[in-house]
């Protein structure tokens, strides 16, 4: 079954209805186990107990970036293939991504104060991540300002694709510029396994949480549109 079969709303509702409880349960499980392991992890030799904020901060940041990537891809599919469902998927992902970005900023700030002595610094990664939040907010503002649904979706799609240039900037910012922020260490193999596994569990949990909330939002939007067209056809008589 190709993913484009899901573009049929009815088919999508069927498949997502089946899949949603499992994703939600998996998210809950991953988060609970990840949190328990996170609390049992030994304190870091350098950062002490505050290392535990990593298990909240890093997954939030990675999920925020992933959400934008997903939004940009859905936008591109909506623009190229003209699938209304892709447009719905893109628009519903935006507020979720914005919240994860805000969470990443707040948890990072809370971690920065004990570690760096500052709530905020203007280095490459923090600046570009803040710009990500502003890009999300601009996207949401543009989407709600245009009344016509199709036009709104297309305009937002163009904006999302333009803003996607920020994602590699955020990722490579720690290698391009000198920064207080931790360099890329997951794929560079620089994290001790005792920290790595709770981190992966939390990242998986956050991602599954995003997907379950996203599916709920898409299903709600589909039902909304159905309700609206029923009301319209009743009004027309």
């Amino acid at each position: 079954m190709s993913i484009f079969e899901l573009a049929n709303p009815k088919r999508f509702m069927e498949v997502s209805g089946l899949v949603l409880p499992w994703i939600a349960a998996a998210a809950a499980l991953a988060l609970v186990v990840g949190l328990i392991l996170g609390f049992r992890v030994p304190p870091d030799y350098q950062q002490g107990e505050t290392i535990r904020i990593m298990f909240l901060h890093v997954p939030a940041a990675t999920t925020a970036m992933m959400a934008y990537g997903v939004m940009a891809v859905a936008s591109a599919i909506g623009l190229i293939n003209r699938h209304p469902l892709a447009d719905v998927a893109a628009k519903t992902a935006a507020p979720l991504g914005a919240v994860f970005t805000a969470l990443g900023l707040i948890t990072g700030s809370l971690w920065g104060k004990p570690m760096w002595g500052a709530w905020w610094v203007w280095d490459g990664r923090l600046t570009s991540f803040l710009l990500l939040l502003l890009l999300y907010l601009g996207y949401i503002a543009l989407g709600s300002a245009i009344e016509d649904e199709t036009r709104s979706a297309r305009a937002c799609a163009i904006l999302a694709i333009i803003g996607a240039v920020n994602l590699p900037i955020i990722y490579f910012s720690v290698t391009w510029w000198t920064t207080l922020h931790q360099a890329n260490s997951i794929f560079a193999g620089k994290i001790a396994p005792v920290f790595l596994w709770p981190l992966f569990l939390m990242m998986g949990g956050y991602t599954l949480l995003f997907f379950s909330l996203w599916l709920v939002r898409i299903r709600t939007e589909i039902l909304n549109r159905r309700a609206r067209s029923v009301m319209l056809s009743r009004a027309v008589g």
Partner: protein
């Protein structure tokens, strides 16, 4: 005269006239630049340090003022439909409008900044760096602003959303533009000019396509 230059000269003439916004942008620039030292205090050494940043931010905000009418004015009275029907492609139209905005607004802002830098006691090397950085960077402001203007052209109060969309995308221009001034003041090697030029060239090259796509989707219904 080719259609491109006809459109370009028309837009420039409209912009420099009374309701066009070019003179307004210059006045706004001067007002903001006057206000900052009043808020920050009269310490000339401090002002010289922040001059690059303040003048860059003020220039970007001033250029944004007239951007929301870039496509919207023609959309509202129907001329955009006529222009879209002409043999001139929408991409070339977008480029002409962006170029007109830069010539009518960006370039005068650059020239005025040399004068306003005096208010901040910026050294002559710093002022030269500021003017060059604005010269290189304001085309990017017009280009990316033009894309934002095309996206918001059908929104009634689109002028309020335009800064929210455009300013995050203009962050590199402000960062490298003011960075170039600081580096010139400190006598350091200036890679910032190269980054700024790359950013400008990239945005000027790609923005007509994005702006044309946005105009097309707004005219389609």
């Amino acid at each position: 005269m080719t259609p491109f230059f006809v459109l370009l000269s028309r837009d420039i003439r409209l912009a420099v006239r009374a309701g066009g916004g070019a003179a307004l942008a210059l006045a706004f620039f001067a007002c903001v630049v006057t206000l900052v030292p009043l808020g920050v205090g009269a310490d000339l050494k401090l002002l010289a340090r922040i001059a690059g940043g303040v003048l860059w931010v003020a220039a970007v905000l001033a250029a944004l003022l007239s951007l929301d009418r870039l496509f919207q004015a023609d959309y509202e009275d129907g001329s955009l439909d006529l222009i879209a029907l002409s043999p001139l492609s929408l991409e070339t139209t977008a480029l002409a409008k962006i170029a007109a905005h830069w010539l009518a607004t960006g370039l005068p802002l650059t020239v005025l900044s040399a004068l306003l830098a005096v208010l901040f006691d910026l050294s002559s090397t710093g002022t030269a760096a500021l003017v060059i950085s604005l010269l290189i960077g304001t085309p990017a402001v017009s280009a990316i602003g033009g894309v934002g203007a095309a996206l918001t052209l059908s929104i009634r109060r689109g002028g309020l959303i335009l800064p929210l969309i455009v300013l995050p995308l203009l962050a590199p221009a402000v960062i490298f533009g003011s960075g170039a001034v600081l580096a010139a003041e400190d006598g350091l090697a200036n890679g910032a000019f190269l980054f700024l030029a790359a950013f400008s060239l990239l945005s000027v090259a790609l923005s007509p396509f994005a702006a044309a796509a946005s105009v097309r989707l707004n005219l389609a219904t």
